[in-house]
Subunit: 472 residues, 2 copies
């Protein structure tokens, strides 16, 4: 496969790998894309993982309408300010003009909380913790990129109400932890977990926790977010309850979301010049078997390959027994699609009761007795996950450079790295950084000690140890 | 629970049961509703069932954009004619007017087939069989009813392309069979499977197979459909391929869909004056345990109840150990929600190592030794499913009356039953039936013999044995 070089030509490489691996395709609607089965099935793996974590934690799934009446969307002033420029509006049905125009949800706080205010009466109704898996639309005018920035995308959005701020805080961080596990333990993508700045936090949040990582082109990317909304929505939406002392209180709220952008991050972090490399745990098909066929000797090889397929069923194994394709072409087809392990079996292997296994990430090949196949596959998948994670983690860590001046920060982010600095966090200093360097704050370490540290911009007291970068 | 009487007041009963069982709720958007966790979790059971059937059959999931440019929607003339009056149009993004207005998908043939035409080149690319789980919008102006008729609803839509009509035909009927299994084997709802008339078939189909059933108010309802599209779309969308002889051919297509309407049908068919009755196989929570607590004797009962919960985990068991609620209140709460089996355990039961199990559908109660609990639960759930299905099936069969005249048909459908008659199937005779009786054709038996039978309207040769009814 003649893909562009990932290192020197990331953006062309990215576009090519998505097309060649049949992950996504463009459509007639600018900025919208098709998630083809090869990417949607990875999204299903992510859904399964998140659903099981959410449900174990007591969150329930639901579905709220996609259309939000304009006046509802406007109820929280910062929220509408943040989203209004990107809202797609439905104005007509059939040939009739609607009385009130309807927003296609850019996020569902307002439509959900309108219902929440009806359902919550007493402390007994709390906590209320619902999640939905839906499509959302944000009509951005920036250049669209498959998965990373599209006008319609898929996500889950969780929305909760608690009786106390303490419970809400705890959940906001717990959800961020679940997201981090999804990136690191499922997708082998290392992330920086931290607080967004006041300038960059969610429109309507008290604070936002984000995961950030570095893309191969040296730009950072926000991987997902968990927001504590305080009482910013519960007050205008009148989400209140009688507490145990019969006193009326407003609820404390969170919202948290994880999107199909994660697929783009994973593709970018792990792919190589041969195509996609799928982290084993998220790969719906972890193994492909390719029979090496010689004329007249097909039958025993195909028989053995079918037996292998049966025995490896739990790995979502694919047997590529297509006729009219050479083994080389088949190797290539599955390499570009990133299947973690390839098993080759030819006439000699059948005789020797062995197979050859090749790892997609390292190209390492081993010959294994069929009797040891299952345990070998298991351990190879395990090492592949941790090797992929370790390599990506080292790369991320190597890209973080401590700085103590704005000019130092500029140098670092211009070289495609992430700068880290002690910072006061003010909106005015962030504006200054942006103006002088083109960089944004990514997020700030959750547990850094900033005692007696000074802000690298203002020289005043530092409040945060913060990551900065050029950003998607 | 003081619900309205289902038999005499179906429509109020239906609205009440949906509210009381917390299945759905209205919103500020007319005709759109919230699927609350109690109904969404049933939808997830249906999704799991259908996904496993589809995937086993080789169908893959994907996701296509929700917005369809006007010119794409117009490519197949009958299709746009059928859907245009109900399309919600996006005309603006932020403050900008869009160059071309975008339809919110009422169904996805046009957007999907535009991609299909790019992906399909050779017979080797066939069959192409994709499914997506999405929301769709049809801005109907009829009175909305939760689940049964809403302007936004959830569904899966499968879209396939085959090299030959024979393969496509086979799949269209196979999908209808899978849907029938979903209704009958999962939801215990009996259905009539048959062909839609030319007047009632899908806009753009060669033929449509539907499942129909009878609602408690004597109106029939279309439960789902599987369409054979012939080459009606493949020609305007240029979905063509080179066959094995290097000849260019157009593909043969199907589309098939199953919606959240099914939840409304299930609620209506099985519910009773105490609330929802959930068919066991589709119930996410099949068993609820209610400890009967007496002051000072709570500990051993709660301990035993917790042990039961653990042992019945695979049934999605709920332990209702809420404080401050009486056992009677709890019985009622779970009855209205339709949980199939209730297990009661009090101090005497703990002593006797037994529990009481009550069946939601019949109110039948049995005392069982804890040692026999698992097998008893299993067999009670099994009989509950088949009893529920048998009762509903008998009711459906008893409601079908053979007729041989239009006036006879009018009498039958006016009494809330389904009429069956030999029929020629012509659009003009269907128009006449509609005008004279208010009834529509539902569908026609797939395997009826019509030899030497005459049409009950025209007296000409009959082609079908057809069901007619007043209809949703």
């Amino acid at each position: 496969m003649a893909l562009k070089n990932k290192k020197s030509n990331f953006s062309e490489w990215y576009t090519e790998v998505i097309q060649s691996a049949e992950l996504a395709d463009y459509t007639n609607v600018s900025g919208a894309m098709v998630l083809r089965p090869n990417s949607y099935s990875i999204w299903e793996s992510i859904q399964n993982y998140l659903n099981s974590r959410f449900k174990r934690d007591g969150v329930r799934n639901a579905y709220f309408p996609m259309f939000i009446p304009e006046k509802l969307l406007k109820k929280e002033s910062k929220h509408i300010e943040g989203f209004a420029p990107e809202v797609a509006w439905v104005t007509h049905a059939g040939k009739s003009k609607l009385k009130e125009k309807l927003a296609v949800r850019p996020t569902s706080e307002t439509i959900m909380y309108d219902s929440y205010s009806k359902w919550i009466r007493s402390w007994k109704d709390l906590p209320l913790r619902l999640n939905q898996w839906v499509n959302v639309v944000r009509w951005e005018f920036k250049h669209p990129t498959p998965f990373l920035r599209t006008r319609e995308f898929l996500w889950q959005e969780g929305h909760s109400v608690f009786a106390t701020k303490e419970e809400a805080d705890k959940e906001a961080f717990k959800m961020s932890r679940i997201y981090r596990d999804t990136y690191e333990k499922l997708m082998a993508v290392p992330v920086l977990e931290g607080l967004k700045s006041d300038k960059e936090k969610f429109a309507g949040a008290d604070y936002s926790i984000s995961l950030e990582t570095l893309m191969p082109d040296g730009k950072a990317i926000q991987a997902c977010t968990s927001h504590h909304l305080g009482q910013n929505f519960s007050k205008p939406f009148k989400i209140s309850f009688l507490d145990k002392n019969e006193k009326r209180e407003f609820g404390w709220q969170n919202s948290w979301g994880f999107t199909t952008r994660s697929l783009g991050v994973m593709i970018a972090v792990h792919g190589d010049d041969k195509g996609l490399v799928l982290p084993p745990r998220v790969a719906p098909n972890k193994v492909v078997i390719i029979p090496i066929l010689f004329k007249g000797k097909e039958a025993p090889v195909l028989k053995a390959a079918n037996a292998l397929k049966k025995s490896l069923n739990k790995y979502g194994v694919i047997l590529d027994d297509r006729e009219g394709y050479s083994a080389g072409r088949k190797f290539n087809d599955w390499e570009v699609r990133g299947i973690p392990l390839r098993i080759e079996i030819g006439p000699r292997d059948v005789q020797n009761k062995s197979v050859v296994i090749a790892r997609r990430d390292t190209s390492e090949k081993v010959t294994v007795k069929v009797s040891k196949l299952d345990s070998t596959v298991l351990s190879m998948l395990k090492s592949m996950h941790s090797d992929m994670f370790d390599r990506a983690k080292k790369n991320l860590m190597d890209s973080i450079v401590d700085v103590d001046s704005v000019s130092g920060l500029k140098k670092v982010v211009s070289s495609g790295k992430i700068a880290r600095a002690y910072w006061c966090g003010s909106v005015s200093s962030e504006d200054e950084i942006k103006r002088k360097t083109g960089a944004k704050s990514l997020n700030s370490e959750l547990r850094a000690s900033v005692r007696s540290k000074s802000c690298f911009v203002t020289g005043g007291d530092a409040k945060y140890l913060t990551y900065f970068g050029k950003s998607y």
